[in-house]
């Protein structure tokens, strides 16, 4: 579109449909009758031919105004155009200009409202919003106001309405593969004299419904944060209705978040049942099989450990993650084939006791021993049945005189320690006492541990939306849909934990790589760069995925991150004790 413009002299560089229209305008400036311009009418725009020059001038002004406004401020315009009925170009232009330069008028609110009437034609002036009666704060952009969502209980028409405050700024969500849209919100508290009636939405397609769904989710979270449980309750029901109209990833994400919110509102916290741990193991196994995140984690961590073990005759790996032990066959095989032959391999698994499956750790050991036997690696296995927070160095059977190279591995486990104060420091000091050659850590790349619920909610919404989007690719190719469903349940449980639980129950306290880096460095570790070998292997692995065209591997400061399109989702890092 823009390029087309530049060829025609670049007079009216606009986005979207206006591009064609201005070219048409240039050609038709001669016509002088009062009827609608025909050429533009074909394109869907209604502009009186007599107004053409005026409209053209306004387009130029708009262009200049858009150029001077900071970038942050204009992206909302691309969403707003739907609501402002761009068919009527001259009024639309006026409203855009006023919106961009409110200081041009003496009273922005009154002129804004006066602009609205010609745009929308007649609309019911609802008595709710008769001015000056209630001191209510409204958002400046009323499309993103809840009243745009029809029939909602938030717009109670009778009785004393609650002081409905929408405070704070909503975070901006990135536009991501057409399924979740951008929602900028400027919440400027204006005094209650702005009558903003329910605006009829011009276009309702699935993207539109998606925008409303996301907005409802965020509004509900805000209500929960402010303890407006009645409103939150109504919104949660609205979310379920809206979610049905969506398809694919958006629907699933919305459903899980709605469930989390509902649990939080009604205070029905998911109880830890006795079959929980083996069930979550099974779910994680399916998650491993479906998508590349765990495989990426294992392969990159293994590569770092392999390089650290170069030349060692005896090696000892201490693993915090357990979970069926699928990480270790590949490492054992790589060690078996290294020049010079395999070392003596000792593995210590640490896992919390599982009442429903007490032999879980033992079974993993048997399988791994069988595997190591098959490929000819001398293998010793031991396990420590303790929760990670209770770990002591004495439990680990460290043999300092045996000249062993030690590696510590943790895949998606360390963030759980953040739920108990002091636990992470204790574990890190235990790790230091072991004196490992390398510590590999794989964690989710997101901050779901902020102090404010709403921030956590928004971050999680963005993160899990991206994650579910990436899983959608597999839905098209894999015939084994049971795996996919289980993976989604696995992720859904994480969502539920982040949204609904608090205190020591909330174990999914993900933190971003930068935060882990700070924590490790203050504990006395320094980073080890993951080599290009790991990077290339990870890249090939991702390239092999059917339906995985969106995955990207990135390297930042020696750490590898796996992401979907532009959003990093998982980060692998390696550490050693600072000299």
């Amino acid at each position: 579109m823009k390029r087309e413009h530049q060829e025609s002299g670049r007079k009216y560089p606009l986005t979207g449909g206006e591009g064609c229209s201005s070219k048409g305008k240039m050609r038709d400036e001669g016509r002088g009758d009062g009827s609608m311009d025909e050429e533009l009418a074909v394109l869907g725009y209604q502009v009186k031919s007599s107004d053409m020059a005026d409209v053209a001038e306004k387009l130029v002004q708009l262009d200049m105004a858009m150029g001077t406004v900071q970038e942050d401020g204009i992206s909302h315009l691309s969403c707003d155009t739907i609501h402002y009925n761009p068919s009527d170009i001259s009024c639309w232009l006026e409203s855009m200009l006023y919106e961009l330069n409110p200081c041009q008028t003496s009273d922005p609110n009154s002129s804004f409202s006066s602009i609205q009437s010609p745009i929308l034609g007649q609309h019911p002036q609802s008595s709710i919003f008769s001015s000056a009666k209630q001191s209510q704060f409204y958002e400046d952009n009323s499309e993103y106001d809840l009243r745009a969502i029809p029939g909602i209980a938030a717009c109670k028409s009778s009785g004393p309405t609650p002081d409905f405050q929408i405070e704070g700024s909503f975070k901006r969500l990135k536009y991501d593969s057409g399924q979740i849209s951008t929602l900028p919100v400027k919440s400027e508290a204006t005094d209650g004299s702005v009558p903003e009636p329910a605006r009829p939405l011009v276009l309702v397609d699935s993207q539109e419904a998606g925008v409303r769904l996301v907005h409802t989710l965020m509004a509900c979270a805000e209500a929960v944060q402010n303890d407006n449980l009645q409103i939150a309750d109504a919104l949660v029901k609205r979310i379920s209705l809206l979610a049905v109209s969506q398809a694919g990833a958006m629907q699933k994400v919305a459903t899980y978040f709605a469930e989390g919110l509902a649990r939080r509102i009604y205070k029905i916290y998911p109880q830890k049942s006795s079959i929980d741990s083996s069930y979550s193991d099974i779910l994680q196994m399916h998650f491993y099989e479906t998508c590349p995140y765990l495989k990426f984690a294992h392969f990159t961590a293994n590569q770092a450990i392999l390089e650290a073990f170069a030349g060692a005759a005896k090696v000892h790996v201490i693993d915090f993650s357990m979970k069926q032990g699928t990480q270790w066959p590949a490492l054992l095989q790589a060690l078996a084939l290294r020049p010079g032959g395999p070392p003596t391999f000792r593995l210590t698994e640490i896992g919390p006791p599982q009442p429903d499956n007490p032999d879980a750790l033992q079974q993993v050991g048997w399988k791994l021993t069988q595997f190591a036997d098959a490929i000819g690696v001398e293998f010793h296995y031991q396990f420590v049945c303790e929760s990670l927070a209770d770990l002591e160095p004495s439990m680990l059977d460290i043999r300092p005189g045996a000249d062993e190279t030690v590696a510590v591995n943790s895949v998606f486990e360390l963030h759980r320690l953040l739920a108990q104060p002091g636990a992470i420091e204790k574990v890190l000091s235990t790790v230091k006492a072991i004196r490992p050659k390398i510590v590999t850590i794989v964690e989710q790349e997101a901050n779901h541990n902020g102090p404010v619920f709403l921030d956590r909610f928004n971050e999680a919404l963005h993160y899990y939306s991206t994650l579910f989007d990436s899983l959608e690719g597999f839905a098209l190719t894999q015939s084994n849909s049971k795996d996919l469903v289980m993976s989604e349940v696995f992720l859904g449980r994480q969502i539920c934990n982040i949204v609904a639980c608090e205190g020591s129950e909330r174990v999914e306290r993900h933190e971003a790589l930068a935060q882990w880096r700070a924590r490790m460095e203050s504990a006395g570790f320094e980073p080890v760069h993951l080599g290009s070998n790991a990077f290339k292997q990870a890249s090939i692995l991702l390239a092999l995925l059917s339906g995985g065209d969106g995955y990207r591997v990135e390297e930042t400061n020696g750490c590898l991150m796996l992401g979907w399109h532009t959003r990093p989702l998982i980060a692998t890092s390696a550490w050693r004790q600072a000299a």
Binding site: M285, L337, I375, G376, I540, L544, L545, S546
Partner: protein, 168 residues
């Protein structure tokens, strides 16, 4: 009868039968691709036994990659043999070589498909063996715990549509 005898008396040169020259047969089969080997296995019992020879499949696996380090053979045989390695790990990768763009230098869109597939081939030549062996190990490990008739557990189904490893 008379015609048959006439034919036999008239023939001076013995007919060439490939089945008499097993080494030639093996040489020819070394140059076939996997699908043709499968087809060849259906011809007769001799051909079937030749195609089942793991050495042929070893050759096939490493045709496009660097020659593997010594000791690989014992490991691969222990984990299920070259034929299985090929079917489960190598073949899906190779079939995707032409259609895949790997953003290895941070530039996944440049060049054009020829340049990209060349890059991919080069990278595969260096790292592919390692990767397919790792995946093969994971596959074996998962089969350790599974029942013999349980074919649903496989973390390698992400590579392609489910591969039918029926005995052929």
């Amino acid at each position: 009868m008379a015609e048959g005898r006439r034919t036999i008396i008239g023939a001076k040169k013995p007919k060439f039968c490939i089945n008499d020259h097993r080494d030639l047969l093996v040489e020819i089969m070394k140059r076939l691709d996997a699908r043709s080997l499968g087809v060849a296995a259906c011809v007769c019992r001799l051909w079937c036994s030749i195609t089942r020879n793991d050495a042929l499949w070893e050759h096939l696996c490493f045709r496009h990659a660097l020659s593997p380090p010594s000791g690989v053979r014992t490991v691969v045989v222990a984990l299920g043999g070259y034929k299985r390695l090929y079917m489960v790990c190598v073949e899906p990768v190779l079939s995707r070589l032409g259609t895949v763009k790997i953003g290895l230098d941070g530039d996944s869109g440049g060049g054009g498909t020829d340049g990209d597939s060349e890059v991919v081939r080069r990278v595969w030549r260096r790292y592919g063996t390692q990767l397919s062996l790792s995946l093969f190990s994971v596959d074996y490990y998962e089969r350790l715990g599974a029942r013999p008739d349980d074919s649903s557990a496989s973390s390698l189904t992400f590579l392609c549509e489910p591969v039918n490893l029926g005995r052929c």
